[in-house]
Symmetry: C2
Subunit: 581 residues, 2 copies
């Protein structure tokens, strides 16, 4: 490609609404252009990146035996009503009425449509396993779209759906996809981690997120540097402490803590470590009658160490809370504890509450908690002596750096990531909802066992930029760079020697199958280099009159601090070696 034939549009300044670096740099590099909130045109420079991502994904999906099709963007609501998602999904699902006033949605994913295809097309176990995928435009009407391609409303996703005859076969299909995803992410040339994720109500361990590592990532990734354990924060288990509970050594004391309603304030006020305090979280569950009226409610008290964060996913798996819970109202709190929030605790409640104790709290001694009286805390609290031994102990908290790894092979570390892929075992959730069956080997109809597998095609480039940039701009990995190499001739319009050398090198690189752009725009060197550093083409070759006199060109990788002199005749070999590395 010659720059004069292409479209290059760089900006000095990022738009005011660009909060994250990928949004800033991709806009400045002319890769994306905002049309509306969360809606972007993929400009020529950006589309090349997206198409390279698509190509890698397509090749590896095909290699893994998945079969590509394309489902409609605009989908009839009927199928979405079969699974109940038309009602359940809320305003994120973009709804349309056509000219005949029929309901449609713009697809956010395609479980319903693909399951409808399967129930019509896959009639026998002999046709299984089958994995259908598409690379197609999606829409999610995010309440607050932002961060450019990181959290857009319209985006491109690769979504795949596997259909199997039984759970064992479905798990095998899942593993095939998990392996394909590793090949895909390896080929992208990004640092990433496949992390175990929560699989929701379905259970089992068959849910992994593919996280691109970036300091700016929204997600916390938990991993063990000395093993291959990795999970997202929701999933990562905090093991029960190994040490036994120390003996009680302090008396239970009601201690004045005037105005100190947080654990941190109390610890500071009392001059003790925050880890000695216990925080009380009050939840409630409702029993609902057939008419939707709440018949009765139950109040729950959760105890966590004062320096820990509650993990909502873990809490939602506690028996009794697993059908849904809410935070208790102030009225409920006052009726049960006789006290406003800020001074609550398990000792001496007015009405009985269900107690759930974090594994850590269960082995603490001489701890501090609210006294159920404003401006007072209890100190020297001890299990068995001051209140009964907890009977419901669970993992309720987020892990922290230094926690023991669940695989017993070291301690946990935490880094930030951007979720770009997800493989997920669905079981029969959709096939049962849509009565999607096939005839089994025994001649009886059976529900499909399904899996789903997504990759955010337009999110991936944004994640790549978050991971790979510097103050001058983007630094693309070779595999997904808009161009692998750029030739920058200095004074091409003045020097016939430079022009000829540039054109010759351009032809040679093209002939060698290298995706090269020749910058024939006639820009001055400073502006030209700044453009390509912003755009982030990894390999640059500069051609100038001075160097040519001694038969030299300049090579500089986008990460190099300085250029390397290369003899004109050696440059193709030199570059090939760089690309192979």
């Amino acid at each position: 490609m010659k720059a004069s034939q292409f479209f290059i549009s760089t900006l000095k300044e990022a738009p005011a609404d660009a909060e994250v670096v990928s949004h800033q740099l991709m806009t400045r590099a002319g890769m994306i252009k905002k049309l509306g909130a969360g809606i972007y045109t993929y400009m020529p420079m950006g589309l090349r990146v997206i198409q390279k991502v698509e190509k890698i994904v397509r090749e590896e999906m095909n290699r893994a035996g998945a079969v590509e099709l394309t489902m409609p963007v605009v989908q009839p609501a009927e199928l979405w009503q079969e699974t109940g998602r038309f009602e359940k999904m809320g305003p994120e699902l973009l709804r349309i009425k056509d000219r005949h006033d029929r309901d449609f949605v713009v697809q956010p994913t395609s479980e319903e449509v693909v399951t409808d295809i399967a129930r019509q097309e896959l009639r026998s176990y002999k046709q299984l396993p089958k994995n259908f995928y598409q690379i197609q435009t999606k829409f999610r009407d995010e309440r607050r779209p932002r961060f450019g391609l990181m959290r857009g409303r319209e985006f491109i996703m690769k979504d795949a759906y596997s259909f199997d005859r039984d759970e064992a076969a479905a798990k095998a299909s899942y593993q095939v996809m998990a392996a394909a995803y590793r090949r895909i992410f390896d080929r992208f040339g990004l640092r990433y981690r496949a992390v175990a994720a929560d699989s929701g109500a379905i259970g089992g361990d068959l849910s992994e997120e593919f996280q691109v590592i970036a300091a700016t990532g929204e997600d916390a990734i938990v991993y063990c540097p000395s093993s291959d354990y990795a999970a997202n924060m929701e999933k990562a288990e905090a093991l029960a402490p190994q040490e036994p509970r120390p003996a009680a050594s302090n008396p239970l004391t009601k201690t004045p803590t005037p105005g100190k309603s947080t654990c941190a304030d109390v610890a500071e006020f009392l001059g003790m470590p925050l880890a000695n305090t216990v925080k009380s979280l009050v939840l409630a569950t409702d029993e609902v009658g057939e008419d939707g009226q709440v018949l009765r409610s139950q109040v729950w008290l959760l105890l966590l160490r004062g320096d820990r964060d509650m993990n909502e996913v873990k809490v939602s798996k506690v028996p009794g809370l697993d059908a849904g819970f809410r935070f208790a109202t102030v009225a409920e709190i006052e009726s049960h504890f006789g006290c406003k929030p800020g001074y609550l605790g398990p000792v001496g409640t007015l009405l009985p509450v269900k107690l759930v104790v974090d594994r850590e709290v269960a082995v603490m001694a001489d701890w501090v908690c609210g006294a159920n009286e404003a401006d007072f805390h209890m100190t020297g609290v001890n299990w068995a002596r001051d209140l009964p031994e907890p009977d419901l102990v669970a993992d309720l908290r987020n892990v922290v750096e230094g926690d023991a790894s669940p695989d017993g092979k070291g301690v946990l570390a935490i880094e930030r990531g951007i979720e770009v892929g997800h493989v997920f075992y669905l079981g029969t959730k959709y096939s049962k909802a849509m009565d999607a069956t096939f005839l089994g080997e025994d001649g009886k109809p059976a529900f499909f066992e399904m899996g789903c597998y997504g990759i955010g095609i337009t999110r991936l480039p944004a994640a790549a930029v978050e991971q790979n940039h510097d103050e001058r701009g983007i630094i693309w990995p070779d595999a997904i760079a808009p161009f692998t190499a750029v030739i920058c001739p200095i004074g091409m319009d003045r020097s016939e020697v430079v022009r000829q050398a540039a054109e010759q090198l351009y032809s040679d690189l093209l002939a060698a199958g290298i995706d090269v752009i020749l910058d024939d725009r006639g820009e001055r060197p400073g502006a030209m280099f700044a453009d390509w550093e912003l755009i982030g083409v990894p390999h640059r070759i500069t051609i100038g009159d001075r160097g040519l006199k001694s038969g030299q060109l300049e090579y500089q990788h986008r990460r190099d601090a300085a250029a390397t002199q290369v003899a004109v005749g050696d440059v193709l070999g030199f570059l090939k070696e760089k690309l192979a590395g």
Copy 2:
């Protein structure tokens, strides 16, 4: 590709709602699957065809210097309000409200968005010419979607938009696209015609449709077999007859024609050729005040030969009718002619009407028209003698086979076609509406001169099927076949010799870069052949035990009546020769 790894799903019967052969065959061949009215999933077999079409289009668009981008499917209404199309387009434009109650549309085309990009990005004449294109999902909410991919609601279109500094440059860009389209359609391997089309209010001749020839086509294509003249029916000019008007020979006579209100009935009743009769069409134009009220109306009488069809596009260009017209009401007709429709004529009207006379009628003598009295016609009508010479003569009719070609090089023929591409000079219609300017060489802002260029990516395969099929199924041209060749082994599961020969040939063809599928499903020969004939893969190689004993395979093109024996060692060369042909 091996069939066992792919997805093949053929049907014996076409769906009840499939009216046209492409819809029937593409559904039966498992290429498309209906999800809703006018909304289809492109199944794996069909998607391969679409992707091959896309690849050819992309390669030739790039070669012609166009630059690819991707504009959003969901577009904010604001831009559509700038051009007025949000209101004007009617229910065909699919409208959406997002969660914040803002208006959006699902793009039917992208003139507004691309013009918005141009007015922001193309600031100087130095950046021109520029041609942006996309291959993207579109939606038109057709009132009566039908014919499968021929007239769907959701479809894929390649739409390109050129931006130029002046009309001459825009016309050059148009010609570049017109030439690129010829290369594209040549590569598809279909019989097609580029025909001149009406360019609407913009004028000029810069509008061509690319029509795939098919007996079932919706459009009539007019061409001259002895020259390169070709136009669509709207556009094709009917020249004025060369012969002078004959002298009057019959007296003007009011003749009873009881109950004969059509030209055909009158001609039959009077025993004269239909070509002697003249039909009267009554139109009206309205002068509208600023408040939208009709201030006054004008009634027009159009005269055409009784055997001719009115051409609405031509009528809409008659001076005085070019700002819009309607058919007159019965009340207007009665007040002007004193008579009900069916017996109208230009002789002796009650109120004056504006007369527009087709070129043919202007040179007729002794003709027949209504007498403005029920059950009576005038015979022996002659210009000058019975009514004044016509002062407004125009081409008002559709041409017919045998009419003189407008280029004077022969006579016209007519065939049917399916419009799949359109190149169109837009001028400043959109740039003026959206105030889209660039800085010209003179330092002054100027409106972009634009062109637009579409290809119906998903319509093309349907048109190909309409043109190329027989009673057994589809016959794809090589370039867009889902697979170029299929290997059909007979008894692969029983014969190791057959299996090895099939696998070897499969590897050899793949290595030679031939897009081949090996049917390893183990189907019986009859069912296997029927599938591939329905699917329409052009080249088939059959491998059987019997043939292998004498070192022979069977080759059969989809159009061949019988197979050809080819020695195993020669088959690759044989096939390559077929593909080159």
